[in-house]
């Protein structure tokens, strides 16, 4: 180590150039920029009033003018952000080669307002395999039957044809917490 450093730092220079080359190979393409690098006209703006504003907003969000539909202007602050269908990422094709496979999205695709809710760890809007009313009816029939049967079991309990079990010491008066100062009610059991 001391000898290599003494020969002018050749190894260090080699390592630095190798590192620079490796980093350049995986660097972002020249067209990429950070989110902090957006200009004012690339950010979301106010609700579009005229047709030209709609066209400009659609182009800004990488959408066709026919597809672009902003949220209604009723004071909730959506501005010109597009209103996309409320479908979660579960419904997107799992086998297509998305640019970002974990969120099933291609580069430049407009993101839903509630994108973070519709990721695959959270809300799932996939259609149910069985129609909703069929599921509801099956569940209500099952629940109703169970409640009716339990209620019948409470009204008409089942028991063996035997008398109650007999305990000594006045039905265990003291053992069950009876007052030792009071006289217990006398209970006598007989042989049969």
């Amino acid at each position: 180590m001391a000898a290599a450093a003494g020969r002018g730092g050749v190894l260090w220079r080699q390592a630095a150039s190798w590192l620079r080359a490796t980093r350049a190979a995986v660097a972002a393409p020249s067209g990429a920029r950070a989110a902090s690098g957006l200009t004012k006209d690339q950010l979301p703006g106010p609700y579009p009033r005229t047709a030209e504003e709609r066209a400009a907003a659609a182009k800004k969000y990488n959408m066709r003018v026919e597809d672009y539909q902003p949220y209604p202007d009723d004071g909730f602050g959506y501005g010109d952000y597009p209103m996309l269908p409320n479908k979660s990422l579960h419904e997107r094709d799992p086998w297509y080669q998305w640019d970002q496979p974990d969120v099933r999205r291609n580069w430049g695709e407009p993101m839903h307002w509630d994108f973070d809710m519709y990721i695959r760890n959270r809300v799932d809007t996939s259609p149910t395999p069985v129609p909703w009313h069929t599921m509801r009816n099956h569940f209500l029939i099952f629940l109703g039957t169970m409640l009716v049967m339990f209620a019948l079991g409470e009204i008409y309990p089942s028991y063996r044809p035997v008398g109650p079990k007999q305990y000594p010491f006045n039905d265990l008066y003291l053992e069950k917490g009876g007052d030792p100062n009071k006289e217990p009610p006398v209970v006598t059991h007989y042989k049969i």
Partner: protein
């Protein structure tokens, strides 16, 4: 198993006893000189042996002997089978007594019904 339930809930409740409201007849009706059941173990012994309340019945003296044998013979608990059998057969006789009590109650209810119907037939004439 279900005959008494069918009779009780199916319209024969005047001759089927309700186990929650037994006995409804005097204890010595039809059984004169009836002896009370004797309890062999004392309440203090049962308390010292920490016997669960549900098992402090008229067979508890057999259970105390069984518990002592199991404590002494641990871990070869199979040595106490003789005492276990004695406790089990005492519990069996206790259950048979419960069945007899139920049947006595049922027959007395049927007799009561017969008397009532006979008196009603006499009064109707």
């Amino acid at each position: 198993m279900g005959a008494h339930l069918a009779r009780r809930y199916g319209g024969g409740a005047d001759t089927e006893p309700d186990p929650l409201a037994m006995p409804t007849f005097p204890v010595d009706l039809g059984l004169p000189e009836r002896e009370p059941r004797t309890m062999v173990a004392t309440a203090q012994q049962l308390s010292d042996g920490r016997v669960p309340l549900a098992q402090r019945d008229f067979c508890a003296h057999h259970l105390l002997r069984l518990m002592r044998c199991r404590r002494d013979a641990f871990p070869s608990l199979w040595q106490c089978q003789h005492l276990r059998h004695q406790w089990d057969s005492c519990e069996h006789q206790d259950y048979v007594m419960r069945m007899k009590e139920f049947e006595r109650e049922r027959r007395l209810l049927q007799r009561q019904k017969r008397i009532r119907e006979r008196e009603a037939a006499v009064a109707a004439e």
